[in-house]
């Protein structure tokens, strides 16, 4: 049985580098917002 803390460690290790990088930078497309104006 895993303690919740152990599970969190496993989850963090399961992240790929790309996913970790997404935690720092995320690009959002705003093209679809044209109709808002």
């Amino acid at each position: 049985m895993l303690l919740s803390e152990d599970q969190e460690v496993q989850d963090a290790e399961a992240l790929t580098e790309d996913e970790v990088d997404e935690l720092l930078v995320e690009e959002v497309s705003i093209d679809g917002m044209c109709g808002v104006y």
Partner: protein, 99 residues
């Protein structure tokens, strides 16, 4: 892992950490609780910088002779590779440019 590793997903020629970089003149940064918004008025790209250290790093780039020097001064050793990739990502989106 080196900063030019293929997993950076950016051609090495696009981001040279040994060059001097700055926030692109057409980019506005707006502080947010999570970090900052970066909007490029030329490309109309909007990016979230989701870490205060990353915002501080990007804002301070023009005070250093290279991105590497800025990273070494502002980012702890065990996080430098990640922040270097973040800068490469920002260079790809033209949030920062070499000068």
């Amino acid at each position: 892992m080196s900063v030019t590793d293929e997993r950076v997903d950016v051609p090495a020629r696009d981001f040279d950490p040994d060059r001097a970089w700055r926030v692109h003149p057409q980019v506005a940064l707006r502080d947010e609780s999570f970090g900052a918004l970066a909007y490029h008025y030329g490309t109309r790209r909007l990016l979230f910088l989701k870490s205060r250290p990353l915002v501080d790093l990007v804002s301070a780039l023009d005070r250093f002779e290279s991105a590497t020097a800025a990273i070494e001064a502002l980012i702890p050793g065990n996080e430098r590779a990640q922040y270097t990739r973040a800068l490469a990502r920002l260079a790809k989106s033209e949030v920062i440019d070499a000068y």
